[in-house]
């Protein structure tokens, strides 16, 4: 892909004549164009290539997950969007303006239309919930009366109107992040960046915060960019996903497409977090390499796609006339698609196992033979 092309996540490739930067993806809220980011060597530490060859777009109004392991470059990427960091090469276009070219006052004005929430909330301990939310408005020069009205509105929006006068030390983690979200939305931004915003929260609170973000996206139309290392966050909230590894985008597209057909090992490892790639201990310990008399062959089948998981066992039993045992199964839904794996026990003879494998490959279910159990 050359410097002037950029693919919108999940969008069909535009025809070549539409590839000028302005028209490449007219509905892109954020567009990375040939981005690289290098941190120079400093005080004996070697330089770091944090990001390389980054070219993708985040559609307006979408919830896009950027997932990667620690050190993959996620934080650098998100800080390019709000101009906290400058790319070494390339441009970052946010809402049709090149934020990577802005400095000083112009940059600060542009930053008001980009909200950000943080893993550790980053609330001022010296200010109440209401005054924390008021901070960006004070900075933007709003009048006292306007601030008061807006803060009340925001506290209600995030569901903590009763915490108006509470200090952060008196709030729970979830409540603090709600204050953080209200503060990020205060100046009515068009983009909300979330930097591991739920990583410090328990699963139940995470769920509530993700639901809140979803409703904000739905009701306010704010584009949300989620930086995370947690597959569960992408699965619950994102419709688009960008998989980052070692500073490069290794896969990007609709969540359902990417995770029903993961190509890169990193993507597969994230998927494994959801559907699991290990057998139950009691089963794994019983598996042997040689078929015992009257034993079962153990086959693991990957299922992908809407409803796929429901029918495999029934169809196998019906079409091949075999008593197929379900030894273990893990199926989840990602972007409306079933994704998971079934571990089947195939009875008896060698030819039954071969017929099952042939049938699975005919219907394109990836399968592997794991061994035998008595």
């Amino acid at each position: 892909m050359n410097a002037h092309q950029s693919l919108a996540v999940g969008q069909p490739i535009a025809p070549p004549e539409a590839m000028s930067p302005a028209a490449a993806a007219p509905d892109a809220m954020v567009r990375f164009e040939s981005i690289s980011k290098t941190y120079p060597a400093y005080r004996g530490k070697p330089g770091v290539n944090a990001l390389q060859d980054i070219d993708f777009a985040i559609p307006r109004g979408s919830i896009t997950g950027v997932i990667g392991r620690s050190g993959a470059g996620k934080s650098s990427l998100v800080r390019l969007i709000n101009g906290l960091e400058k790319p070494t090469t390339g441009r970052v276009i946010v809402d049709n303006s090149d934020i990577s070219a802005l400095v000083g006052r112009e940059l600060r004005l542009a930053q008001r239309s980009i909200g950000m929430i943080f893993q550790h909330f980053n609330l001022l301990s010296s200010r109440t919930a209401a005054d924390n939310i008021a901070l960006p408005l004070e900075i933007a020069g709003w009048t006292r009366a306007d601030i008061k009205a807006r803060v009340a509105e925001l506290l209600a929006l995030v569901g903590i109107a009763d915490k108006h006068d509470r200090y952060p030390s008196e709030l729970s983690g979830g409540q603090k992040q709600r204050v953080g979200i209200a503060r990020a939305l205060a100046t009515r931004p068009s983009v909300l960046l979330s930097d591991e915003a739920t990583s410090a929260l328990d699963p139940q609170t995470t769920r509530a915060i993700l639901d809140l973000l979803a409703s904000i996206n739905r009701e306010l139309g704010v584009t949300i960019v989620l930086i995370t290392h947690e597959m569960s966050v992408v699965r619950q909230l994102a419709r688009e996903v960008v998989v980052l590894d070692a500073g490069r985008v290794v896969e990007s597209g609709h969540v359902a497409d990417i995770f029903t057909h993961p190509k890169h090992p990193i993507t597969q490892s994230f998927l494994a977090e959801v559907i699991g790639d290990s057998l139950p201990v009691s089963l794994a310990s019983r598996i042997v390499a040689e078929p015992p008399v009257g034993g079962q062959a153990v086959i693991r089948v990957q299922v992908r796609g809407a409803g796929a998981g429901d029918t495999v066992v029934a169809r196998l039993a019906r079409e091949l006339g075999l008593d197929v045992a379900l030894l273990s199964a893990r199926i989840d839904e990602i972007g409306g698609q079933h994704v998971g794996s079934l571990v089947l026990g195939i009875p008896g003879r060698e030819d039954a196992q071969a017929r099952v494998m042939a049938w699975l490959s005919q219907y394109q279910f990836p399968a592997e033979h794991l061994g035998y159990v008595a």
Binding site: N82, L84, Q111, I114, M116, N122, E138, I139, A186
Partner: protein, 221 residues
């Protein structure tokens, strides 16, 4: 103790409070911005100016390593230039200020550096200017530490003020030396020490109380 002596103690206490109060005020006026700058001007920081930072740091260190009594004498021409005289309580405020400002600056620097760097990034992310970050984030968040720093500075100034008797500055320390030591009046010495102890206790308690009051990191239940 005779009423005259008690009057002397009251007068000396007034002089000490006057010198220390004005010097602490002026020391804060100069030391606070200097401390904030020292805390925010290293490489990659808000007001990055590493060279200026190093030069100011060296000046601060030089001032702080000069024994106070030598500083008092060494800057007599400057004191005369600023205060019009080098004798008396008002003149003594000049060396007290010059000694306290770098001290306060270092304490302020330490308090400001205690503020979570994530808050600076947060404020930057919603478009705060460096000055807004200092005024709306760094100073309010460091306020408990700043109040304790100021308390420490006032207590140190009380100690320093005992030495300005050498240039006719007056005050409690001067009274203790001239009456208690040179005129062999141990009860005078004792009285001066008791008053100083009471003052230090008072200042420290007030500082602790205020710092606790503004510290919202603790629960107030």
């Amino acid at each position: 103790m005779s009423p005259e002596l008690i009057n002397l103690i009251i007068q000396a206490t007034g002089e000490s409070l006057y010198m220390v109060g004005i010097a602490a005020l002026l020391g804060t006026v100069f030391g606070l911005p200097l401390g904030v700058f020292l805390a925010t001007s290293r490489k990659g920081e808000l007001f990055a100016a590493p060279l200026v930072n190093r030069v100011l740091g060296a000046i601060v260190n030089a001032t702080r390593s000069t024994p106070f009594i030598i500083l008092v004498v060494a800057i007599i021409p400057f004191t005369r230039f600023v205060a019009g005289t080098s004798i008396g309580s008002t003149a003594a405020i000049v060396p007290l200020t010059i000694a306290s400002a770098p001290f306060i600056a270092r304490l302020v620097e330490a308090a400001i550096r205690e503020v979570d760097g994530g808050l600076i990034e947060t404020a930057s992310s919603f478009g705060a200017s460096p000055l807004q970050i200092v005024l709306k984030v760094l100073i309010p968040e460091a306020l408990p530490g700043l109040l304790l720093a100021l308390t420490l500075a006032v207590v140190s100034l009380l100690g320093y003020s005992a030495m300005v008797g050498a240039v006719g500055g007056g005050g409690l320390g001067d009274l203790g030396i001239r009456y208690g030591y040179q005129r062999f009046m141990p009860e005078m010495m004792l009285a001066v020490v008791v008053v100083l102890i009471a003052l230090v206790q008072l200042v420290q308690s007030a500082g602790d109380y205020l710092a606790r009051r503004v510290n919202r990191r603790l629960r107030h239940r």
